[in-house]
């Protein structure tokens, strides 16, 4: 019945496609970057200028169209799903190619196209003179297309396809300088780690499809709304498997190891993909499919001891643990990009924790603000690296604040936003929403953990700022640094604006209203709102900020080298070495994998090709050799056999009668 209904929708929607409905603009937003990527790859590869113009023009056009959609749908409109194309129709499986236009997706469209546009403009300066300049822009456009596909997808199959495309373009961009072995390795590591998560994601999708008979988000949500137990005893397992996909893309423990290595790619790539957009895809997907997690917890018999622990609880714990783990590691990193990478991990853990605590609105809020200020921080780091002649160790910088005035100021704004400076920055409000979600979701332990992580975030970010920008220059490169070109400065300034200004927009209420139709904005909102309606979260958040800042200034102001390793001893060394995760994986997973590979090789060599293939071949040949002897060449032998055969057939025929 439902399929017939869907098919009917598809047909009726197909007729007026691309006529006058504003939501069809979403298709243009989606396809513009693809056209740019293909255009660059096929036609203007030789021309750096044209490549950049194509790519930036497409993404800017997509950005302005997104603004239009945001004004039309985000502010006033209801959720709209347009499904003009029936893509796959096999038996019970009915997959449409459709776009979802609702508050969630239009906001995300703005984030993706906006950050992508700024990063691409910045790249014209950062990548200047690179011999693969146009390949870079083509890959960036391909990435933007894939990411927009995830944002707009209205069903699991389409999302999965774009999910994999994002994985591919991420691989291409991390390994952009493929002649560096470390970059090639990092690209492979990112791709494989993501594939592990995607495997779980795919199984999760299949389970949901098997249980509900639908792959479209609206269809599944409708089914689960009518019958929350539609997923049966596998409800929580299916939810966790879908979460596996987010675990890979959003780099949650234990699949977090690829993200820091992905910093081998060019810095604009780190800013766009590994800070603002791709890693946010996991969180976005969780928010998009949040209806899957709103069903009562149900476990199959062997796991029944888990009782009423829901998939969301497990997700929250994983997110919180990732946040803590990454923050601890970030405190003892010296590479400016790695500090930011672990900070990204930590903030992603925060968002996942928020989803797990039942606050997808808080997660999306933080995702949006984080995309802005983390892209700003990465681009700022890129500017610092550029100025210091590709030096990335913060202990070889110092005193940069007056040599790179614009970079320093914007970087400071980004740091303040990440630390959550109250009232002035966007990060404060979104972090507050997450802490508030932890309290209202009934997770006091995670709330405490969130506060500790907030203090640590302030600590390691101020460590970075104090060491890199203040004190005396530690090397010649740092003392001769000079400000980056304008194409790199302007995106920093533009990104600094939302790091502050989003604070004063009612973005939190905007998202809450999407997830909860009965939501009413809090009384006494405005810029001091958090202190009124969530005093606990706001107070503790501010306290954590002050504590972290005091500690950072106390430890790092005017020191020639890091005093912490001496004081922390063994723990410090573990933090510096990323808690030996890479080594553990090398020591446990790699031999295990090698063993499996050897077993598979043995099976293939001896059982498959030895016993089966060679067995079939050998017995056929043996029979052939034996039968060959019957071919004597003598006419009368053949006649005799023929006559004997006829006799036998006749005898059998007579017997049967």
């Amino acid at each position: 019945m439902e399929h017939a209904h869907n098919a009917h929708n598809a047909i009726s929607a197909a007729a007026p496609a691309f006529s006058s409905r504003p939501e069809d603009l979403a298709w243009f937003i989606l396809l513009l970057p693809l056209i740019a990527a293909a255009g660059i790859a096929f036609f203007v590869r030789k021309s750096n200028v044209l490549s950049a113009v194509f790519s930036i023009g497409a993404v800017l056009a997509a950005f302005f169209l997104s603004v239009g959609l945001f004004i039309t749908f985000g502010i006033g409109g209801e959720a709209t799903v347009t499904t003009p194309f029936s893509w796959i129709h096999v038996g019970d499986l009915n997959v449409n190619l459709g776009v979802t236009v609702d508050r969630l997706s239009v906001l995300m469209l703005l984030v993706v196209t906006g950050v992508s546009a700024l990063v691409q403009i910045y790249s014209t300066g950062y990548m200047h003179g690179d011999r693969s300049f146009s390949r870079f822009f083509s890959s960036l456009s391909l990435f933007t297309f894939s990411m927009l596909g995830i944002v707009l997808a209205d069903n699991f199959v389409m999302m999965f396809v774009f999910w994999e495309l994002v994985g591919l373009s991420s691989y291409l961009l991390i390994g952009f300088w493929y002649e560096k072995p470390s970059a090639g390795d990092a690209a492979k590591k990112a791709f494989l780690t993501n594939r592990i998560g995607d495997f779980g994601f795919l199984i999760g999708i299949l389970m949901v499809w098997a249980a509900t008979g639908s792959v479209s988000f609206a269809g599944i949500a409708h089914k689960l709304g009518a019958d929350p137990t539609a997923l049966g005893s596998m409800a929580s397992i299916a939810g966790l498997l879908v979460f596996c996909g987010a675990m890979g893309k959003s780099a949650q423990f234990p699949l977090h190891v690829w993200l820091p290595d992905a910093m081998e790619g060019p810095t604009p790539v780190s800013a766009l993909i590994h800070a603002a957009t791709m890693v946010a895809a996991g969180v976005y997907m969780l928010c998009r499919t949040f209806f899957l997690y709103q069903v009562p917890a149900a476990w199959p018999a062997p796991l029944s001891f888990l009782g009423s622990i829901s998939a969301l609880d497990i997700i929250a714990v994983i997110g919180g643990f990732t946040a803590l783990l990454a923050a601890l590691i970030a405190i003892q990193q010296n590479d400016i990009k790695r500090i930011l990478a672990y900070s990204t991990l930590s903030q992603l853990g925060y968002m996942v924790m928020a989803v797990g605590c039942g606050g997808p609105d808080a997660a999306m809020y933080h995702l949006t603000t984080h995309a802005g200020f983390k892209a700003l921080l990465f681009l700022g780091a890129g500017s610092v690296i550029h100025a210091c002649h590709h030096e990335q160790d913060i202990w070889k910088m110092g005193g940069l604040w007056n040599k790179l005035p614009v970079t320093f100021r914007t970087f400071a704004i980004g740091t303040a936003a990440l630390a959550g400076l109250p009232i002035l920055t966007s990060g404060f409000y979104s972090k507050d929403a997450i802490l508030d979600a932890a309290i209202t979701g009934g997770h006091p332990v995670l709330f405490g953990l969130g506060v500790i992580v907030a203090a640590m975030t302030t600590f390691y970010m101020l460590r970075l700022v104090i060491v890199a920008f203040f004190g005396a220059p530690r090397t010649g490169a740092a003392s001769h640094a000079h400000e980056s070109p304008n194409s790199m400065i302007w995106p920093l300034i533009v990104l600094a604006v939302p790091s502050i200004a989003i604070a004063w927009l009612p973005l939190g209420d905007f998202l809450s209203a999407h997830f909860n139709p009965h939501f009413h904005p809090h009384e006494g909102g405005g810029i001091f709102g958090p202190f009124n309606h969530a005093p606990l979260a706001a107070t503790f958040g501010t306290g954590a900020l002050l504590f972290g800042a005091a500690a950072a200034f106390g430890v790092y102001w005017n020191v020639p080298k890091d005093p912490l390793p001496g004081q922390l001893g063994l723990i410090g060394r573990a933090m510096k070495n990323r808690f030996y995760f890479d080594e553990i994986y090398d020591g446990v997973l790699v031999p295990l994998h090698d063993m499996l590979a050897r077993l598979a090789d043995w099976f293939d060599r001896w059982i498959v090709s030895g016993l089966i293939i060679r067995g079939v071949h050998g017995s056929t040949e043996l029979v052939g050799r034996a039968l060959r002897l019957a071919q004597t060449g003598n006419l009368q032998t053949y006649t005799f056999m023929f006559a004997a055969g006829v006799a036998v057939v006749v005898m059998i025929a007579l017997k049967l009668k």
Binding site: Q631, G633, Q636, A643
Partner: protein, 105 residues
């Protein structure tokens, strides 16, 4: 005359089977191609006899029509077969089947 046994279908068939067996024996046992050919002709005529007998006793002319076809085809076959044997003899100077076994494994 009256105590002479009236020849029935069985008698014809027995003669036909004897003829056929003789022919088959000739084909299997003799070595000379010409004699094998004669065996073949005997087998064909045994079949013809059986067909005519069936035709007569079933009051149905189909069998006799068939026999005409067989005779025609057999004549053509003999013409081709003998020509082949002659050609083979010219080439190999023998008409014995044991000497003509080059088409084997």
């Amino acid at each position: 005359m009256s105590d002479m046994i009236q020849a029935g279908l069985q008698h014809y068939l027995i003669v036909s089977v004897l003829l056929f067996s003789l022919g088959l024996f000739g084909v299997l046992a003799r070595r000379n191609l010409i004699v094998i050919y004669m065996g073949l002709e005997l087998m064909l005529n045994a079949a013809n006899l059986a067909l005519v007998a069936f035709s007569h006793f079933n009051a149905n002319l189909n069998g006799q029509v068939m026999v005409f076809f067989i005779i025609t085809v057999a004549a053509a076959e003999v013409a081709v077969g003998l020509a082949l044997i002659v050609a083979l003899y010219r080439k190999r100077s023998t008409a014995h089947v044991e000497d003509l076994t080059s088409l084997k494994y």
